[in-house]
């Protein structure tokens, strides 16, 4: 998996204020409305893909592409809502984005045994340990976001360290989502940094 949110040298203060005051109306609500239904469809396809994997050992390619497109849309929305990128997130599953990118290579085979292990024990060996650390990372991320908000408001610059930390938290979260969604067999590392496995 390759996830990136481009660091901008300068951020728009006007856009920051617009997002802060009206963002919920003109960004969050319209996107959340559409993503709710698309997410529901994604859940149905994810469940069907699970059954298909159990019998064939393959994630159906069309369903895989849909899930990646859905994740991409969520990523560009999250990037705006957490002020990591300027601009308006594009609607549509096939839309592209200037500042965010997510590439997930299609696995030819998915282990059936691991799929069952994930179903029965995933909560213990993935969700709990990763969720525990991510919980504190997200808490710290909220504090950093407030700091970055003030920083952008007065200097038009996002603190580079805060940006990296927030992107790494999102990357970590996406790796866990991909693993638990049977889209990869690579166990997510306990880090948000880019690794050698990122293709």
């Amino acid at each position: 998996m390759k996830l990136n949110i481009t660091y901008q040298e300068r951020y728009s203060r006007l856009e920051l204020l617009l997002r802060f005051i009206f963002g919920v109306f003109y960004i969050a609500l319209p996107h959340a409305f559409l993503l709710f239904f698309l997410g529901l469809w994604g859940a149905i396809l994810g469940f069907i893909a699970f059954i298909v994997i159990l019998f064939t050992g393959r994630y159906p390619e069309s369903m895989f592409i849909y899930q990646v497109q859905l994740l991409r849309w969520r990523l560009r929305l999250n990037a705006r809502l957490s002020n990591l990128s300027d601009g308006y997130p594009a609607f549509g599953l096939e839309s592209t984005d200037e500042y965010t990118s997510l590439e997930v290579s299609y696995p030819e085979r998915i282990s059936r045994g691991l799929t069952l292990v994930r179903l029965f024990f995933g909560i213990f060996y993935v969700s709990l340990p990763h969720g525990f650390i991510l919980f504190f990372r997200v808490l710290w991320g909220i504090i950093l976001s407030i700091y970055a908000f003030i920083s952008v408001l007065f200097t038009a610059k996002f603190h580079k360290g805060a940006h990296t930390f927030l992107v790494e938290t999102i990357r970590w979260n996406y790796r866990v989502l991909l693993y638990m969604g049977n889209m990869t067999d690579v166990y997510p590392p306990f880090s948000g940094k880019e690794t050698a496995n990122d293709q």
């Binding site: 149905i44 994810g46 159906p60």
Partner: protein
């Protein structure tokens, strides 16, 4: 009336009025998987954890409209799956309505008719389930399986040369209307 009209139309058509059927080796893995997915929409209600019979039907309709233009093979299986789901959905809705009237609203009492209908519903669902799984396995192998009534209709609808739908994996037909936009004078 509908069946008679369909049969009459079918008798009038010759083999030349249909596109040739693809053989398994001519289909891509993705086409086979997409065709298989159509039958697995019967699990949609399980995925959403909502025990409403209409969920499967909605999922089948969405799947049909999302995938039908990808290829004739996919279109055929999506249509057959969608059509075969209609009677089962109606039977299940009937059962749900009757059960709610008995156990929730207390308007009726459990009687032999209810048990008979319950048995009929279980058998209908089992038949639907077994046939759908069999069709999904065959579709995964690139093989056609025709359900009674629905199979021939879906074949007629998709593979007839009269079908004007443009598929992503085919060249647009020569008679496709290209010059729709014309200047005002």
């Amino acid at each position: 009336m509908f069946i008679l009209l369909f049969l009459e139309k079918k008798l009038q058509m010759t083999n030349n009025d249909y596109h040739p059927l693809p053989q398994p080796h001519e289909l891509t893995e993705r086409e086979k998987e997409d065709a298989m997915g159509a039958y697995l929409m019967m699990f949609a209600a399980l995925a959403t954890s909502l025990p409403l019979p209409v969920i499967n039907l909605i999922a089948a309709i969405v799947y049909y409209y999302v995938n039908r233009k990808k290829g004739r093979f996919i279109h055929f299986h999506c249509l057959q799956s969608l059509l075969s789901q209609l009677p089962t959905t109606l039977v299940n809705w009937g059962l749900l309505y009757w059960a709610l009237q008995i156990f929730f609203f207390k308007n009726f009492e459990v009687n032999d008719y209810f048990y008979a209908y319950l048995g009929f519903s279980i058998v209908a669902n089992l038949i639907y389930f077994i046939f759908s799984i069999a069709a999904a396995i065959r579709a995964r192998k690139g093989v056609f399986m025709y359900f009674i009534f629905f199979g021939p209709y879906a074949y007629q609808r998709v593979y007839a040369t009269q079908n004007s739908l443009v598929y992503e994996n085919e060249q647009p037909p020569a008679n496709a209307k290209q010059n729709l936009n014309k200047p005002p004078f």
